[in-house]
């Protein structure tokens, strides 16, 4: 299995290398290299999953590691770590990535940098697979950064567009901020425990070598990395902009790779989070889920709607993890990967057809693009949490977890309530997108006429993905395999105490029931509202928009986060940078130059020492005693005798100095 894992890792890297160096000269510009490598990886991943499933053991684990960097005192290893989560994620990533590769063959077919595109896809997949497979913080940080790089390359793929270039840069730098925090967290962990390896770190924490506030800090810092990658508040701003990349890339980023990385990482390192850290995670998730949902309500660009929906869903996942719903969070991650890939590819198909991302240019596409429509609808229902689609199960689990948490800790009930609201909004804005895109009459006749169903290479992936959006596929086994690690604080200390007081089984059961009903209800409500507004037109969106102008504006402008950051962080940085540069030029250099100038001035003084000072002295003396008579008035300067006088004076002075 380790061999398989290594091959899975190396295949995309190999594809990348081939593509970047000789891709241009290969037949079909080598799209088959990358795609083939990805499919191969998928087939290699299958046996791993099968093995995991066949053992059907929550503690299933295969690891192997090699010495990598040996400092003598410290030995950093590189290792592969396969457990159930890895096995599942491998399948998810390789499958979705393969499908997106396939889809891209159609979508990108006439791009001038076709080979480069596939190269980037490969490196992206490589980074993500590496992130899943490595066995320690050091490794995960490396691939973490590489994911950032890949996203930079792909988001900025159409770099001639300034907006794309900007978005790429923004994505990278925003991520870097999170990464630095994560790095700081790793610093704490490593310097306290002296190891990077997950297992050893977890063991160390279990032994209490790292605990208390420092552990909480480490946890929150590491989570900050996930905040960046998984676009959590307040570092979510890059994700919507990342829509500037080609749509399949968006699908890849939003579904299987980049944003999933954060959630995956939190799941992977779940045991290091203390109860306080988890609470932070939960709240960040809540805020993100709600805020993104509200923004999504008013977006006009189909991809932006999807983008904010992603942010919102990621918030859900974090809520799940933060409230102790380890399984729920990761479950949602997996289901979301499929239906979000489906949605993005579907929207890509639409965009491919109408050459526009604005929903105002669409409408009525249902007839022209039936496959796209139906698959997209499935995706929508899944994300909205309509049973029996996959999203329902996972989201329900999250809500249950949040409710359970709220019931145990009533002060934190707000998490559940807000999350529930966000879930309702999901139904609303997703259906809105469907109605605006596929329903009603075409708003742009010309674009509508040109529109056509996408080629098979694009629709097949849609169909495959739609299959996975059906929830029953995931039933049961996943929950069994992804059991909350025993070492996690909820499993061990914090909540158990609470649970002991509150009667744990009861709470869980009640919570589950309430959550299920409320989630169905709220999803239904959202869908209903959406239908009322956009299909039956019973309620005027414009009117309500006008009525709620301030809120609408706030949502439309994404809570002014970009502006806020622009005005504070970026402007501040640039300001300091300018100041530093000026400081460098004026003050430090100026100081040095001033010293030089003073020296020179002084030297000028001395340069005249022979001519001027003595002369001047004589002249001064002459002026003072000028009125003593004509004879003395004739005093003028004469050279040698000036010198002699000076020497004589020096003798006198030296004598006086020495005497005292």
């Amino acid at each position: 299995m380790i061999t398989n894992a290594i091959l899975i890792l190396l295949l995309p890297l190999l594809a990348f290398t081939i593509q970047i160096f000789i891709g241009k000269r290969l037949p079909r510009k080598g799209d088959w290299v990358s795609t083939g490598a990805m499919f191969l990886a998928f087939f290699l991943a299958v046996p791993i999953l099968i093995q995991a499933l066949s053992s059907y053991d929550p503690n299933f684990k295969i690891t192997q590691s090699w010495e990598w960097i040996n400092f003598g005192a410290v030995n950093v290893t590189f290792g592969i770590h396969i457990d159930n989560l890895t096995a599942i994620m491998l399948i998810v990533v390789t499958l979705i990535s393969s499908l997106i590769h396939l889809y891209s063959i159609g979508y990108m077919h006439d791009d001038p940098r076709y080979n480069r595109y596939f190269a980037y896809l490969s490196i992206f997949s490589f980074s993500m697979l590496g992130l899943i497979l490595v066995d320690g913080f050091f490794g995960i940080y490396i691939f973490w950064e590489l994911v950032g790089l890949s996203s930079y390359l792909l988001i900025g793929f159409w770099f001639e567009k300034n907006s794309a270039a900007n978005a790429a840069k923004k994505a990278f730098i925003t991520n870097r901020i999170g990464d630095v925090a994560m790095f700081a967290g790793i610093l704490i962990i490593f310097t306290t425990l002296g190891v990077f390896n997950f297992e050893e770190v977890f063991r160390g924490i279990a032994d209490g070598q790292l605990s208390g506030g420092l552990l909480t800090a480490a946890g929150i810092l590491i989570f900050m990395g996930a905040v960046g990658k998984s676009a959590q508040f307040p570092l979510h701003v890059w994700l919507p902009d990342a829509m500037e990349g080609p749509t399949p890339v968006s699908a890849l980023i939003h579904a299987a790779t980049m944003v999933a990385a954060g959630v995956y990482m939190v799941g992977r390192t779940f045991v290091i989070y203390t109860a306080d850290a988890l609470l932070v995670i939960a709240y960040i998730g809540t805020i993100t889920a709600f805020m993104a949902a509200t923004i999504a309500l008013v977006q006009k660009d189909i991809k932006r709607v999807l983008a904010y929906s992603t942010v919102s869903q990621l918030g859900f996942m974090m809520v799940g993890l933060g409230t102790g719903g380890y399984t729920a969070g990761l479950f949602h991650l997996i289901t979301h990967a499929f239906f979000k890939a489906l949605l993005f590819l579907g929207s890509g198909s639409v965009i491919h057809a109408v050459h526009s991302q604005e929903m105002d240019d669409m409408g009525g596409l249902r007839k022209k693009m039936p496959i796209t429509f139906w698959t997209f609808l499935i995706g929508t229902l899944a994300i909205s949490g309509v049973p029996p689609f996959s999203g329902f199960w996972s989201k329900d689990a999250i809500l249950a977890s949040a409710l359970e948490f709220g019931m145990v800790n009533p002060t934190h009930m707000v998490i559940f309530v807000v999350t529930l609201l966000a879930a309702g909004m999901t139904g609303f804005y997703m259906l809105r997108a469907v109605y605006l895109t596929f329903g009603g009459e075409p708003r742009d006749k010309k674009k509508f006429d040109h529109a056509h169903e996408s080629p098979l290479v694009m629709t097949i992936p849609l169909c495959v993905l739609a299959l996975f959006a059906v929830g029953t596929i995931w039933w049961g086994w996943l929950e069994h395999l992804l059991t909350k690690p025993e070492l996690s604080s909820y499993a061990s200390s914090g909540v158990q105490v609470l649970e002991a007081g509150g009667g744990h089984p009861d709470v869980a059961h009640t919570a589950h029931k309430i959550a299920m009903f409320s989630s169905i209800a709220i999803a239904g409500l959202g869908i209903l509202l959406s239908t009322l507004v956009y299909h039956w037109k019973k309620i005027s969106a414009e009117a309500w928009g006008r009525r709620l102008k301030p809120i609408y504006t706030l949502f439309w402008n994404k809570y002014y986060f970009d502006e806020l950051y622009g005005a504070t962080v970026i402007a501040g940085t640039l300001f300091i940078s300018k100041i530093s540069s000026l400081f460098d030029m004026k003050v430090i250099d100026g100081f040095v130059n001033a010293v030089a100038r003073i020296t020179t001035r002084f030297a000028f003084g001395n340069g005249r020492f022979d001519i001027k000072i003595i002369d001047g002295m004589v002249n001064l003396v002459a002026r003072v005693i000028g009125f003593f008579g004509a004879q003395l008035r004739t005093i003028q300067t004469g050279r040698v005798q000036n010198y002699i006088l000076m020497a004589l004076a020096a003798v006198v002075i030296l004598f006086i100095i020495q005497q005292f």
Partner: protein, 502 residues
């Protein structure tokens, strides 16, 4: 001693006086040769002078076998210390003779007197280096002064040379007067003219420090004028600028070194008592080493600061040579073998690089007809060899490895550091000065290497092979001594042993 012994001593001493006798004989030969030779053949006198110097050089080398002794009834000393300086004088004089042969400045002037006086000046320097009696000290200084006055005025039809000569004369005479007065007081305090006896007497008696102090300061005026040390340096820039360049080169080396020889011998013999391990203690009452330290600091600082604003290379080098006197003085103030040794070493190094720099000035003067820094622009493209040589000399003057100048500075700093924290401040001053000095040396470098030449200038200037040979002859040791200087260091080390030997 009875008269016959004294006479016998004088007769015996003659064999130890061979180099000086050779020079004296050469003076006579040159005078006669100048009379006999026709004008167009007068250039032969230069070769005669050179030959005399070479023979004297051999004679001096032979004296190394003789050990240390006093000759002519304690009037002069023949010891490694004096011999070291004598070798320095002879080689520098030989170089200056060589420079003079090619110099355009001196072309068409009578050479007989010139070389005669050069030889006489060298003789005077010899005496300065070996004088151990106040009379011989005074006479040798006068000897050097009088011949220098004439040589500075040698281009008598040129106003600058004439003026330089006059200033030198008046200032020199004045300084001699001061020194003489100081000597008279010293004589009055001790009742003897022999510096060793003076040392013994001063050490034995608790002489009045005030009288001793004024005597020392007045004598310092006389020595300081030879060293061109601040505040007795005033004559130097003017004279250096006005005098013929080869003579300037010699002034900046020969009399200066002789001044150091005298200063070191006289002060350490007369005003200090030897403690242990080659360390001296200044006589009670007058802390002249502190006095000299102040002079050293002032000298290097003023020399360097004023050099910064100079536009004439010759004048700039004049100020730089003032500064270097300050550096070399650092070794003297330490009252230790180590310090003297460093100074001796430095003087040789300084002589090489300074004569070298002046040689380049002469070459450029001949090629371009100017001493202004502006006319050095783009020299590297027009005349690479002089430019490169100047680079080497200037780097050496700055004190950068791998040139001899660095080793010289290194020894001085080493001596200072070894001397203990008392003179660390001087080391700091010297550091700052080293950095300042780079600034003006670099101005010449910048002009030569970095600045674009004026377009009207000819593309390339032909340097005569004669100068090429001379330049190489100076560049090579300047670099070589920066890489391997052990023989010179050993020689200098050996030469310090002058006090214990007599």
């Amino acid at each position: 001693m009875n008269p016959s012994e004294i006479i016998q001593n004088n007769i015996n001493s003659l064999s130890y006086f061979l180099p000086e006798l050779i020079l004296t004989g050469m003076i006579v030969v040159l005078i006669i040769a100048d009379l006999l030779l026709k004008k167009e053949n007068s250039a032969w006198t230069s070769l005669l002078a050179l030959g005399g110097l070479v023979i004297a050089f051999v004679a001096v080398l032979n004296q190394y076998d003789l050990g240390s002794r006093s000759i002519f009834n304690d009037m002069l000393a023949v010891d490694p210390f004096a011999l070291y300086f004598k070798l320095l004088f002879l080689t520098s004089a030989a170089f200056v003779v060589l420079l003079s042969i090619g110099s355009v400045e001196l072309a068409g002037r009578p050479v007989g007197e010139y070389f005669t006086l050069m030889t006489a000046l060298t003789l005077g320097l010899f005496l300065m280096a070996s004088a151990t009696n106040l009379i011989t000290i005074f006479i040798s200084i006068e000897f050097v002064s009088v011949t220098s006055f004439i040589l500075a005025t040698y281009l008598k039809t040129r106003r600058r040379s004439s003026e330089a000569g006059l200033k030198y004369t008046i200032y020199g005479a004045f300084s001699s007067g001061l020194m003489l007065y100081g000597i008279s007081i010293l004589y009055g305090l001790t009742g003897t003219l022999d510096i060793y006896e003076i040392g013994t007497k001063l050490a034995a008696s608790s002489a009045n420090s005030l009288a001793l102090l004024i005597s020392i300061i007045l004598m310092l005026a006389g020595f300081g004028y030879k060293l061109a040390a601040v505040p007795f340096h005033f004559w130097a820039p003017d004279v250096y600028e006005g005098a013929p360049t080869p003579i300037t080169a010699f002034f900046s080396v020969g009399p200066k070194a002789a001044g150091f020889a005298l200063l070191i011998r006289f002060f350490n013999v007369a005003f200090a008592t030897e403690a242990t391990n080659g360390e001296w203690a200044a006589i009670a009452g007058v802390n002249w080493s502190q006095l000299l330290a102040v002079v050293a600091a002032a000298t290097m600082t003023l020399g360097n600061l004023v050099a910064i604003v100079q536009k004439n290379v010759k004048r700039l080098l004049a100020y730089s040579s003032i500064a270097h006197a300050g550096y070399a003085l650092m070794g003297v103030v330490l009252l230790s073998d180590q310090g003297v040794y460093a100074t001796l070493f430095y003087l040789v190094v300084y002589y090489l690089m300074n004569i070298g720099a002046f040689l380049v000035v002469i070459v450029v003067q001949d090629l371009v007809g100017s001493e202004s820094i502006d006319d050095y622009k783009g020299l590297i493209w027009r005349a690479p060899l002089p430019a490169i040589a100047m680079g080497v000399f200037l780097f050496s003057l700055t004190g950068l490895p791998p040139t001899a100048g660095f080793i010289g500075k290194f020894y001085l700093f080493a001596a200072l550091i070894k001397g203990g924290p008392g003179f660390y401040w001087l080391a700091v001053v010297a550091i700052i000065n080293s950095v300042i000095s780079l600034y003006y040396y670099a101005r010449i470098l910048k002009a030569m290497y970095f600045d674009q030449q004026d377009e009207k200038e000819p593309a390339s200037l032909a340097v005569s092979p004669y100068y090429v040979v001379l330049l190489i002859a100076l560049v090579v040791p300047t670099i070589f001594l920066g890489v391997y200087w052990a023989p010179l260091a050993d020689l200098a080390n050996y030469s310090v042993e002058f006090l214990r030997a007599l």
